[in-house]
């Protein structure tokens, strides 16, 4: 296993995973990932799109350094500053919203934190405990926490999953604003094409397990100027292409 994590320059993320396998409880080994190789430039937003269970989360875990049992190398732009939003919010139930964010970002300026809470509509909930929050709110706190550390790399694992449409729409807009206003290299994992097309600069389509990258689609129009028709058109185009793979 040549699991190497090194720090790249200029906020560049370079992922070269040649192979990753899991051992099941029965002792049987099965392949999850094969030849996942891609690059993200500084402050670029990439989206990994693939069917459920294809190993998308595993890719994020490998990049985050949580899973080191793989073959390949990761060159990440993190100089210790990695922000991650897990699929579940993973907040400390015994700390308030404020304290949850401050735990990972103790040196954040009060104005910064206030503006972050304002964009995410969390001002009224600063002193609440996670058990008092809805799923959508908790998700937003997790996002605030990841951004509070002013990350060089932001990893988002299905940030909108299990939210109702209206809520997902709002968080999507907030997310777009947030990544638009900060130079953060972002990698997003989702099974929802719509979401990927709205947020990403570059989409990587994954096959079913063992996951491989079947296509890399750069989106030419800048995120902020993409119209509804354009988004629908791109989504339709990609859906046609992937129907054969999924």
């Amino acid at each position: 296993m040549n699991d190497t994590h090194s720090v790249g320059e200029n906020g560049h993320l370079k992922v070269r995973i040649t192979h990753k396998a899991f051992t099941a409880a029965s002792g049987e080994r099965f392949d999850v990932l094969r030849d996942i190789c891609f690059d993200l430039g500084r402050s670029e937003v990439g989206a990994l799109v693939g069917p459920s269970g294809c190993g998308k989360t595993t890719i994020l875990r490998i990049i985050a350094g949580l899973d080191i049992d793989f073959s390949g190398t990761i060159t990440s732009p993190l100089s210790g500053r990695l922000g991650m939003v897990f699929q579940e919010p993973r907040l400390l139930p015994w700390r308030t919203v404020n304290d949850n964010v401050r735990l990972v970002a103790p040196s954040i300026a009060p104005e910064m934190l206030a503006s972050l809470f304002q964009v995410l509509d969390l001002e009224a909930h600063c002193l609440h405990y996670p058990s008092e929050l809805s799923v959508g709110l908790a998700r937003r706190v997790a996002l605030a926490r990841a951004l509070a550390i002013d990350p060089a790399l932001l990893l988002l694992d299905e940030p909108l999953v299990s939210l109702d449409d209206a809520l997902a729409e709002r968080l999507l807009a907030q997310l777009a604003t947030l990544i638009e206003t900060r130079p953060i290299t972002t990698l997003l994992v989702t099974h929802d094409l719509q979401e990927a097309v709205r947020l990403a600069d570059r989409i990587f389509l994954l096959s079913a397990r063992p996951a491989q990258i079947v296509a890399e689609i750069p989106l030419a129009t800048p995120r902020s100027t993409r119209s509804e028709q354009e988004i629908t058109k791109i989504v339709d185009e990609i859906s046609n292409r992937i129907s054969s793979h999924w």
């Binding site: 985050a64 949580l66 990695l82 991650m84 400390l92 139930p93 735990l103 405990y129 008092e132 550390i149």
Partner: protein, 245 residues
């Protein structure tokens, strides 16, 4: 209100029983309370209470800190658990008296030997409770802390300790009562002062009044600690739970 009735009932039964048994075998509540007052006036009561309480707190603190450290290690590191488990079983089943007597033989009739003997008696219970807590630690929060590079000290204080709190409270609750009972035996066997020593003296004189006076005084002290110290700490540690819907 119910508590008050319950307490009155207890005093009534005590008083009735004392009428039947006679003041030699079981002195009534008034006589015992008077004895407490007399001991308090001479200052002797507070000295003995203080000495015993100091030993209780010292042994309790040592047992809780060492027990938490060992329990965490055994709950988190498999090899430590496998090495430590037989020791733990031996320690759990070793009678308090054996540990105390050996401590006094090996360490002399000293304060340190006495306090350590009590701490060693309490230690395995704490280890068992904390080990259970350490096994139940949430790995998803672990990973969160790793990704965000939360420093070790903060990780322990904000992530690990709150998860161990229910186990520590349980260990502490049972620990306080266990420790003070064992401290009394230590004092009876090898210390020249403290409630245990006084009860030993009273036993030789067959002075039941004095035995009850000292026991009652110390139970009251423990009750005060429980309501004035343990319960507020517990309320603070679990404040986040109460507001849950």
């Amino acid at each position: 209100m119910v508590r008050l009735i319950s307490l009155t009932l207890f005093l009534a039964i005590w008083w009735l029983a004392s009428l039947f048994a006679g003041p030699q075998m079981l002195p009534g509540p008034v006589k015992v309370l008077t004895a407490i007052a007399v001991q308090a006036q001479s200052g002797d009561l507070f000295f003995q209470l203080g000495v015993t309480l100091a030993r209780v707190l010292a042994a309790f603190t040592i047992a809780m800190i060492a027990g938490t450290a060992i329990g965490l290690l055994m709950g988190r590191v498999k090899i430590a658990d496998r090495i430590g488990d037989p020791w733990l079983i031996v320690l759990l089943n070793l009678p308090a008296l054996v540990i105390i007597v050996l401590a006094f033989i090996w360490g002399g009739l000293t304060e340190i030997a006495g306090v350590l003997a009590v701490a060693i008696n309490k230690l395995p219970n704490t280890v068992v409770a904390v080990r259970e807590g350490a096994r139940a630690l949430d790995t998803s929060l672990d990973e969160m802390a790793r990704v965000f590079a939360v420093p070790r000290g903060k990780f322990f204080w904000h992530v690990v300790l709150p998860q161990l709190a229910p186990y520590l409270v349980a260990a502490g609750r049972s620990g306080l009562s266990l420790v003070w009972k064992i401290v009394l035996i230590v004092e009876l066997l090898g210390r020249p002062n403290g409630i245990g020593f006084q009860i030993g003296v009273a036993f030789q004189l067959f002075d039941v009044t004095l035995i009850l006076a000292y026991a009652l005084a110390f139970v009251t002290v423990i009750l005060i600690i429980e309501t004035a110290v343990v319960q507020p700490i517990e309320r603070h540690a679990f404040r986040w739970r109460k507001r849950a819907p």
